[in-house]
Symmetry: C2
Subunit: 225 residues, 2 copies
């Protein structure tokens, strides 16, 4: 019954994850030195092969769980990369996934265990194979979407100050934003809720903490920052 399919060649499929975090007011990604050939010791994204019994999204989730210990990470496919010689060992097609996490939720011992580094996207080294291209496309996607989708909250703790939120936008878009104009716009967005809580850690005066209200967002998921 599958005669038609048998003529065609099969290939290995992997997923590669671009894990974004926001730290020290910079947008960073997790990269590590490859511990295997080919490409041993080159800087690389973290990835894994897609198993016979899992979908692409499942594979990406599995890799991300192993890497971060976190479930339900925000994750989105960036694209498929299929040049014949992109992997020097054997033909491998790779599906790139972009993930957004809050660095504070992240167990740093896992980072050390996998020998990964948070690296600012402004100082990225040459990465293995076509990984730089994947990262660039992931960044482009982030920039295109951050003004119309609630992505920024994935990079922040559940409670955050407006200054932190503004810094996320500045880091992602690589621009400076006027504080008053930014806060004016935020006031018009219903799903960014001010809480009664005050953050006294980063400033002496204390800053109001805000939260993203998912219910309200889903009720009317249109906004433009």
């Amino acid at each position: 019954m599958n005669g038609f399919y048998n003529e065609h060649s099969k290939v290995l499929v992997s997923v590669d994850c671009i894990v974004f975090g926001f730290d020290e007011d910079k947008l960073k990604i997790l990269i590590g030195k490859r511990k295997m050939d080919p490409g041993r010791d080159e800087w690389s994204l973290y990835g894994g092969f897609v198993g016979a019994e899992e979908s692409l999204d499942d594979a990406a989730n599995r890799v991300l769980l192993k890497l971060t210990g976190l479930k339900k990470i925000y994750m989105k496919q960036v694209g498929a990369y299929g040049k014949i010689d992109r992997d020097p060992g054997e033909r491998v097609i790779s599906i790139a996934y972009c993930a957004l996490i809050n660095v504070k939720d992240y167990d740093d011992s896992l980072r050390e265990q996998h020998d990964l580094e948070w690296t600012s996207i402004k100082n990225l080294p040459k990465l293995y194979s076509d990984h730089n291209i994947m990262v660039n496309n992931a960044i482009k996607m982030l920039r295109r979407r951050i003004n119309t989708e609630p992505l920024s909250f994935n990079l922040l703790p559940e409670l955050f100050t407006l200054t932190q939120l503004q810094h996320v936008y500045e880091a992602v878009l690589d621009t400076e934003i006027d504080k008053r104009n930014f806060r004016k716009k935020i006031k018009d967005i219903d799903f960014i809720e001010k809480t009664e809580l005050i953050d006294k850690i980063t400033s002496k005066r204390g800053a109001a903490l805000y939260r993203f209200n998912k219910r309200v967002y889903e009720d009317d998921p249109t906004f433009k920052l």
Copy 2:
């Protein structure tokens, strides 16, 4: 040397093409009835398997050439689709590609030969497997990009009237656009050039023909319609 890779399973990879055309003031795509099992006689996108010696883009170009007889078609990857059971026959991961062609360039005998139909995106039937999802994502991508990338010209002849161009935008975005405002914006876009030629086919009075100047566009590829 490839010991590490050998543990992992290989899968078939295909490309599926969403070929957009603009005809009768409607945005349409090419679909046909499957001529093979599984899914015989279901409406389907046109696709093909990725060969051992070709990249994903090469495979898409090959499929598009076979389908349309046209080279250098505008083409862009939409995404990778990898649910385990998405193909009832055997596991197949598919990479969807969106293509834009000018229906007038297209040899209609090829369409008949492949038994394909131009179908308005507003009247799409249920398609094979996850093809409806692919189409929806392709449309979303078109809508997101048509205001900032010179996509519309791929759907038109080399020479076109402003009314035709406006109708492309209206069909893609599914909105009505004010004629005067539209033409005002076009005047500000340097790479849309008025020619001396006049189209007397679609109107009695005759309408000025315009052309997309790629050189000028590449010189300053920023615009916003």
